[in-house]
Symmetry: C2
Subunit: 133 residues, 2 copies
């Protein structure tokens, strides 16, 4: 099938699928006479797999690892779990960081009247160099 059909089936854009071909992530057979890429069912399955992994915040490079594991019938589930646990830790850290940011901003905002007067503890705090993380 052509790239448009494959992309639709995988729930991706043709742009994305073409990008994956260009970076060597999922490289389909390319018809020499037309120059068109030709995708097989198994390619679509991999595209779906990648799409899902991307939705789970795995980077392209991590997707590359996952795909290698996915294609390796002899992989150990240990390897996959390790990658997943690392990703979970990463997400947790990001959440903590954002939570701290939110708390600090909320604190600043709570002190600001938000009226027509120019007095603004938020700007004061930003300019005073307080609140470093």
């Amino acid at each position: 099938m052509n790239i448009g059909t494959a992309a639709k089936q995988a729930g991706l854009t043709t742009k994305t699928v073409r990008y994956y071909a260009n970076i060597g992530l999922i490289v389909p057979y390319q018809n020499p006479s037309s120059g068109y890429r030709e995708y097989m069912e198994s390619d679509v399955a991999k595209l779906q797999f990648i799409g899902m992994a991307r939705r789970f915040n795995f980077s392209i490079d991590e997707c590359r690892e996952l795909l290698a594991l996915y294609e390796d019938r002899n992989r150990s589930s240990h390897d996959v779990k390790t990658l997943t646990m690392l990703k979970i830790k990463e997400i947790e850290n990001k959440i903590k960081e954002l939570q701290s940011l939110k708390d600090q901003l909320s604190h600043l905002a709570s002190g600001c009247d938000g009226d027509d007067r120019p007095d603004c503890p938020i700007l004061d705090a930003l300019s005073a160099g307080k609140g470093q993380s």
Copy 2:
């Protein structure tokens, strides 16, 4: 003072400070004979202000707005608070999204033995197209 000193005082890199000059965020006097940028104390204050706002996840464009408010003695604190509340909402949404991702990944990981055998519910789930967000 020169850019290196200003950057150090503001806790930024010279690369960053030069970037801010290039995009018109904080443009110092530039000595015509040497070509060197010359920063005043008030410039350093603004650089610190921007540095802090960046640490609070404000984008460069938002920093531009904040800086305009910071420099406007007639601004109303309402405008600042509005911007801050929007940023808080944005951060909250990001946190929720990450939390959901984490939960789903944790769920997947909990079903995976993580041993030497190839059976892996994580890969199964990724390839089955389950878990869409």
